[in-house]
Subunit: 489 residues, 2 copies
């Protein structure tokens, strides 16, 4: 079990009640920005390497939050990077020294945040490490590099602090909610932080400062290992892969039962991104079932209990493969194959061709929760929660990686457009993982879960859901949730 | 490129024309059985460890073929094995010394054939190696152990011959066709052989004798590496995984287009296991398309060219993961999870519930080739052939692992009953692989290939199919094919 208690010399901390104990958390907000210079003591130059969705969002948020502090944020890109034009368009320029070659930026930073794609990180981390000045701190936003170093027998360079701040949402939402938070103090994406190496005692407050500057409503402690596992597993399961498999399989199911394409879309995809996600976000998991009538609850219960077993098996399989390093090897192999051609399209199946027409009907009616869809979705979510809890993850990590990131960061993107808009705005590792595992959920549900939903519900599984400790953990996290919902154009 | 030329001191060899050269092959048959004692010179006791589908088939065929030779075949099982009763029922008994503890049998064998499940082999090969008597030869039926030793830094024990004879069909068909071959000389399953270590020069004729005794119509040379890669990839692709994904996706497609369940079954699964497999088996790949009318060819062409790309990408992905060892690690992880519970069911989707009713209609009509289904199936098969050819596999291995094993050994099992009867009669590694990769083909075809089949066909891809060297290789192999088709009760 990861320790979740910590202290800060800079920020006022709080205690959050979670099942079986408490976690220390830092409630964020713009009122803390005046404390940032103290948190970043010794840091004059922050380098952000990479301009993918996370790189862009973090560089912009850090620059805005640190405006006037004298701390400079510089973006580093590899030679010939196609991203340079967009970075310039966002005000990072060679002229004022805020845009440069990645190794030059690495050599010139007190805190170097590595946000290039995982495969690039695997290929180039040694050059970057070699460029660091003495005492510079390495910043990460997930644990991939730790996994890669383990797999290849490498190590972080001695004498450098190694910290991570990991927003529990895609880069685009990290920026979008931060901007919306200009009016509503504290809107943003929750983050975990980890201290992997702390040679001079500055690491915790540096990480907390970084998280506050990103706009995190609350920040909780984890380890790089725990973060890596929950992050890579979660995006393959309920966050991206599983939810794609769910909506494809449900759409087909409703079509075969006689629905027209748009109705089938509304009962599957639109139902999850609409009323189900909204209910969970505002009232928790149990509220979804409690809002159903008696007949609806029976359908929910049968779908839930038929789905839970196959979902749990798949999440356990994903977890094993991520923990073993095989999933990471697959990502590296895929990147090699993709060196010369684009990633396969996601979202070309017939169901997505009716997204626009389904969206156009939103004004006409308030869509009720479809009980079968709700049962399947919540069973998958609970299976991931249970797997994470059994493997000893902190409760904040569990609820953020299984529930909050889904309903408050990712699903709004699928709601705004389609599955590609959600999946392909995430990291390449996430995009590859969703393509790899989504079909497993689709097939297991079509072939195993849905036929089993003809049978009566398993009362023991339902009782476990009703009395699940996650409801308490989610309620505690909800108290820290800003009042604003993300708005995806 | 693997060398495919070899000589024998015992058997008369032939030369087979293949694209770009020739391969040495041994045409089998019962008329060669009198040569077996010379081939097995120095071998008085053959131990077969394991009683899965391959163990049972090979122990029985070897015993029958060597009857009267004075060479004894003994089955070795781990203590408490649930297979002992079935081995006894087939005449292997403790009383006459033909059934015993695996380590005791290992210590008492001149040729020890290892046919236990891959995970058991991974866990116990060192104990087995330690039990061998000096000079005993190790026999394998696929290259899994080589891959595992590479992955773990282990080695085969020095001073022992290491050979492989690898039937290109499931164990059940190895036995079934051997029995049907009592009347028709030479009926059986083709095998490859490999010599991995040959300290005393006996290895090639030992392997050829073993293959003749199994009833192989023809035997070709490969390496353990090449066999391992083509075997593990093939079963995940066209042999088991892909064909399952194909029939699931096509059944759904035809249902959504308005077919009733049985008609959809006939146009998808029944079409592949029936007229398409039969045509390929007797007349080759091109004959499938040539049998269609003009409208049918247009449908075939669009389905073929829309499917080829996604199929090739998936086969390349599978090949990379098998070659890298990640697929093997996944199998070991899966076996650990499955230690205490059964493997998930395959074949529980709605389409299989109508198998019996579809089979009952067979007498009423001769099913015509469904052009869309044929295009999808042949594109997937050709994608695998091309990937194998690009990676340098011998042509005999390519056509056996991509075409002959499919139409003459495996699909007849799905034709007789359902997908589970085909997949779950194979090795555990194959069963796990089919569950892992089948859904990837299903999803890629539903989401990428089928929507693309609305567009005109790609003439370059069709020309490549028409002039493909595989047709020549398949025609050469067909000359060695016994006249009997497998009959699955």
């Amino acid at each position: 079990m990861t320790s979740t208690t910590y202290t800060s010399r800079v920020f006022p901390l709080e205690t959050m009640e979670v099942p079986g104990g408490t976690e220390t958390i830092l409630r964020g907000g713009r009122h803390l920005f005046p404390l940032l210079p103290r948190a970043f003591a010794g840091v004059r130059r922050i380098g952000v390497i990479g301009w993918g969705p996370q790189g862009r969002a973090q560089a912009l948020n850090l620059r805005d939050s640190l405006a006037g502090s004298g701390i400079r944020v510089t973006v580093g890109l590899r030679p010939g990077s196609a991203s340079a034009a967009d970075a310039r368009a966002h005000g990072f320029t060679e002229e004022d020294g805020t845009l440069g070659d990645w190794l030059a930026v690495a050599a010139d930073s007190d805190l170097l945040i590595l946000l290039i794609a995982d495969a690039a990180l695997a290929a180039h981390h040694q050059e970057i490490f070699a460029a660091l000045q003495p005492g510079a701190v390495i910043g990460l936003s997930h644990g991939f590099l730790l996994g890669h170093l383990r797999e290849t027998g490498g190590e972080f360079p001695a004498g450098h602090g190694v910290i991570a701040v990991c927003p529990k949402g895609m880069g685009d939402s990290v920026r979008r909610l931060y901007q919306q938070g200009e009016e509503i103090n504290g809107a943003g994406i929750n983050s975990s932080y980890a201290v992997h190496a702390d040679p001079d005692g500055r690491a915790t407050d540096l990480a907390l400062g970084w998280s506050v500057a990103l706009g995190s409503p609350y920040t909780f402690r984890t380890t790089l290992d725990s973060e890596y596992l929950s992050d890579i597993v979660g995006e393959r399961a309920i966050l991206l892969g599983a939810v794609h498999g769910i909506v494809e399989s449900l759409h087909t199911r409703f079509r075969l039962a006689g629905d027209d394409e748009i109705t089938a879309y509304e009962r599957s995809c639109e139902n999850i991104t609409g009323p189900i996600a909204r209910t969970i976000s505002h009232a928790g998991l149990r509220a979804v079932r409690e809002g159903l009538d008696t007949a609806g609850r029976d359908v929910f219960d049968r779908a839930y209990t038929a789905t839970y077993g196959p979902a749990r098996e798949l999440v356990a399989e994903i977890y094993d493969e991520v923990a073993d390093g095989t999933e990471l090897r697959s990502v590296i192999l895929a990147e090699r194959r993709l060196g010369s051609r684009p990633m396969s399209e996601i979202g070309g199946s017939p169901m997505w061709s009716v997204s626009d027409r389904a969206h156009a009907r939103r004004a006409e009616q308030a869509l009720p929760v479809e009980p079968f869809t709700a049962g399947v979705f919540l069973a998958t979510m609970t299976a991931q929660i249970d797997e994470f809890a059994e493997r000893g993850h902190p409760w904040s990590e569990i609820v953020n990686e299984s529930v909050i990131e889904a309903v408050d960061s990712l699903l709004p993107y699928m709601h705004a457009r389609n599955v590609a808009h959600m999946v392909d705005n995430c990291s390449r590792t996430a995009r590859l993982g969703a393509r790899r595992w989504g079909p497993r959920f689709q097939a297991a549900y079509e072939q195993i879960a849905y036929p089993a939903a003809e049978r009566p519900a398993d009362e023991a599984l339902l009782a476990a859901f009703d009395g699940h400790p996650v409801h308490e953990a989610l309620a505690a996290a909800a108290k820290l949730r800003p009042s604003v919902d993300i708005s995806v154009a």
